[in-house]
């Protein structure tokens, strides 16, 4: 307790030196709270959707946390501040944790306070509304519970977003030695951390594994939660984990902070591993954004890569240095391509074999083929239905056979094995990456496996997998499925549909 009080006294001492920031952040969040909590009255009064401005002010209030981090960790940015702060009677642990506490007072606490006030006002306002009074009188507690959880989730969203940005800010502050680098690296790192997991899923697993399902929420577990919040069903426990990871990172960064002295203050970046990591993540992020615009992305990313290296360089610039950085960029791009190629060769690092982990009892599995000819695409129909207990409701097909979970999985595995077994080539890789466009693009047929979750209705799709398969492979696949007795019930329909294609 005595130790905490001492650290707290130091933190308050530090906090007092940032009065301007305190005023700014509280104005932003205070007005954000006002607009969010009094949203209904404002709409009535001004006929405008002010709520979005409330969210915006909260978002800005969170984003400017980087300024607080830079201010609090100024001893790492300037030798003058290092002289003052590092000579003060504190151990590095006391100094670091007093700074974290100062950051809490400066930025995290105002967000939690104004966010909490918003939630309280909204809850009171809602509970006083006629709708709520109706449910109150009818005793529909679930409704109340749902709304409360929703507001709690929003509160956690505020907390998670501020903690995430501040944690990334602390990471950058501890690894950089200049204000500018701490600032722009914080935003680059926050962006990459927020979108990269989803992009990796999209580019490496979804594209090359043929999965068309959305990345799970777990992929956005540590992210700027305003982003994650766009998923309305984003689980509350993941927001809590988000907060936990941010706090853990802030605590763990002490082990990097304690190694630093004033010698690295003023250097743009003091940690090479951090620098190279962020630069690689940034290139990977940019090149994962859109496969069909590789030329533009390569150029823009290359320019940004070069500019950052020039800014962070501390010596006399030379043509040789610039050539080295361009070479480094080429190697980084090559690594990204190699990563993609590895994903291509392994069919999305084995994602092609992905089967939903939950039971397939009560689900139906549909395999369809799309035959493409020239530039004309036509649909060959749902040629192969492995198991479609509810097909009558879905597509008018009758499938009276009940199939066990295991048999459905066997059927899916056969199709997936055929998908994975297709021939690999550089031409095919670059074609599918969008870098080459030739007639070859039309030589494959699309095979799609769709698993429909029927427990809550046939519209609930739990997995879709689409991959191109050579024409002869489709035949082989169909034969294997037939031989294994998995499509017996639909074979007539299948052959009829398929034969129709052959004879065209």
């Amino acid at each position: 307790m005595k130790r905490f009080l001492r650290i707290n006294r130091m933190a308050l001492g530090e906090t007092r030196t940032h009065t301007k920031f305190i005023v700014i952040v509280n104005i932003l969040l205070g007005f954000g709270c006002l607009l969010l909590s009094l949203e209904k009255s404002y709409i009535d009064l001004l006929h405008a959707d002010w709520m979005i401005f409330g969210y915006l002010l909260f978002a800005v209030g969170g984003i400017i946390g980087t300024m607080a981090v830079i201010g609090v960790f100024r001893d790492l940015n300037s030798i003058q501040y290092s002289d003052v702060q590092m000579s003060l009677p504190m151990s590095s642990a006391q100094r670091y944790f007093s700074k974290l506490l100062a950051l809490f007072y400066l930025h995290i606490f105002p967000v939690l306070f104004w966010g909490g006030l918003t939630v309280v006002i909204k809850t009171i306002e809602k509970h006083n509304s006629e709708v709520y009074r109706f449910f109150w009188t009818t005793g529909d507690w679930d409704f109340f519970w749902y709304e409360s959880v929703d507001w709690f989730r929003l509160y956690l969203c505020f907390a998670a977003s501020v903690l995430f940005l501040d944690a990334v800010g602390v990471l950058c502050a501890v690894c950089c030695g200049r204000r500018a680098e701490t600032g722009y690296f914080s935003y680059i790192a926050a962006y990459c951390l927020s979108v990269l997991p989803g992009l990796i899923w999209n580019r490496l697993l979804r594209t090359w594994g043929g999965q068309t399902m959305e990345a799970g929420h777990a992929f956005f577990v540590w992210t700027w939660s305003f982003w994650a919040k766009t998923y309305t069903d984003f689980p509350t426990y993941l927001l809590l984990i988000n907060c936990g990871i941010s706090i853990a990172l802030m605590v763990l960064m002490y082990f990097v902070y304690r190694r630093r002295d004033a010698g690295t203050a003023g250097r743009p970046v003091s940690n090479r591993v951090f620098f190279e990591g962020v630069m690689f993540a940034a290139v990977l992020t940019m090149l994962s954004l859109n496969g069909s615009r590789y030329g533009i992305l390569l150029t823009i990313t290359g320019i940004a890569y070069l500019v950052i290296h020039i800014i962070t360089f501390r010596e006399q610039l030379s043509c040789r240095k610039i050539a080295v950085w361009l070479g480094k960029y080429a190697v980084t791009v090559l690594l990204v391509f190699l990563l993609n190629f590895a994903a291509y060769m392994t069919n999305g690092f084995g994602a092609v074999y992905y089967i939903p982990s939950e039971s397939l009892d009560g689900a139906h599995v549909v395999v369809t083929t799309n035959r493409t000819t020239g530039s004309v695409v036509f649909y060959a129909g749902s040629g192969l239905a492995i198991y479609n207990e509810r097909m009558e409701a879905y597509d008018g097909y009758v499938a009276p056979i009940s199939m066990s979970d295991e048999l459905k999985r066997d059927a899916i595995r056969i199709v997936q094995r055929h998908l994975a077994a297709q021939e690999k080539s550089f031409t095919d890789f670059f074609q599918r990456l969008g870098l080459i466009e030739t007639e070859e693009n039309w030589r494959h047929d699309l095979v799609t496996i769709t698993v429909f979750q029927t427990k809550t209705g046939p519209d609930q799709e739990v997995m879709t997998q689409s991959l191109f398969l050579p024409y002869h492979e489709i035949n082989a696949m169909a034969e294997e499925l037939e031989d294994s007795g998995l499509v017996r019930a639909m074979e007539d329909l299948w052959y009829e549909s398929y034969a129709h294609q052959f004879h065209r």
């Binding site: 003058q80 009677p89 250097r267 290296h309 501390r314």
Partner: protein, 312 residues
Amino acid sequence: MIEIANVTMEFRNKGVGGDGSTLTALKDISVTIPDGCVYGFLGSNGAGKSTLMRLLCGVYRLQKGTIKVDGRDVWNNASVKSEMFFVNDETVQYADFTLEGLRKYYRSYYETFSDEVFYRLAKQLQLPLNRKMSSFSKGMKRQAVVIVGLASMTKYLVLDEAFDGLDPAMRKMVKDIITDEMLDRGATLILSSHNIAEINELCDRALLIHKGELVFDGEIDKIRSCACKVQLMRKDSAITREELEKTGVDILKYSIMGSVAQVIVRGAGDEIMQKISAVPNDVCELIPLTLEEVFIYELEARGYGHEALSEN
């Protein structure tokens, strides 16, 4: 007591954006600073004075050697740092503070901080308490930081170029305040300055660093007597440097004007006179050196000044 033993400090320009070069700021420095003294750090620009001060105060982590303050390591040691106050050679970091804010800031860290001393000195120097220090003159900022340092009541006060920017009258006043406050409570004052007269006037002891190497250290009187000027005259022929060197004296500088030779010789006066008397002469006069002259001749002997001239 501060014991500095075999301290070497290198700045490596490696990592992101660096060229990998190494600058040796301090080479094998060993000095002892006794309690209760006023110790001056002398040296040319970039000699390593500020680096040594930062090592003393735990701003830099020690690479080689040891620094013990009353037998304890200083790096990452809050209890040792609570007995030290460091004022560096810049004031830009205090621009956003008011003097009152600065008091509150340092009060949060130094448990020994004395409001009484702070307000008394602020009043004595007529410094405004609630005005932003960005509007202060350089001299006023210096005074402000010095009074905060004194009010922190630490055992050691380390001032890097503390009197820089002060006019002569204020310089004297601040010096008087520092010496009165520090000496009254037996504290140790360590200061660096380019103004050798100031060091000479204030300090009991001093050290001279050049290019990271310790040239001399010790009591000021002893430093002054470690070299002296000798004027020699011989009517028939001028006394040459070679003649003098044959006697075994360590000559820092030799010059001749007509028949009068003037030499700066390292060593004690009596010993020098004894050796030089072996050279036939008509007049031989020993003139004591000031600290400033010792500083200049020692640095000249190491090529300082000449290098700059030859570079230009």
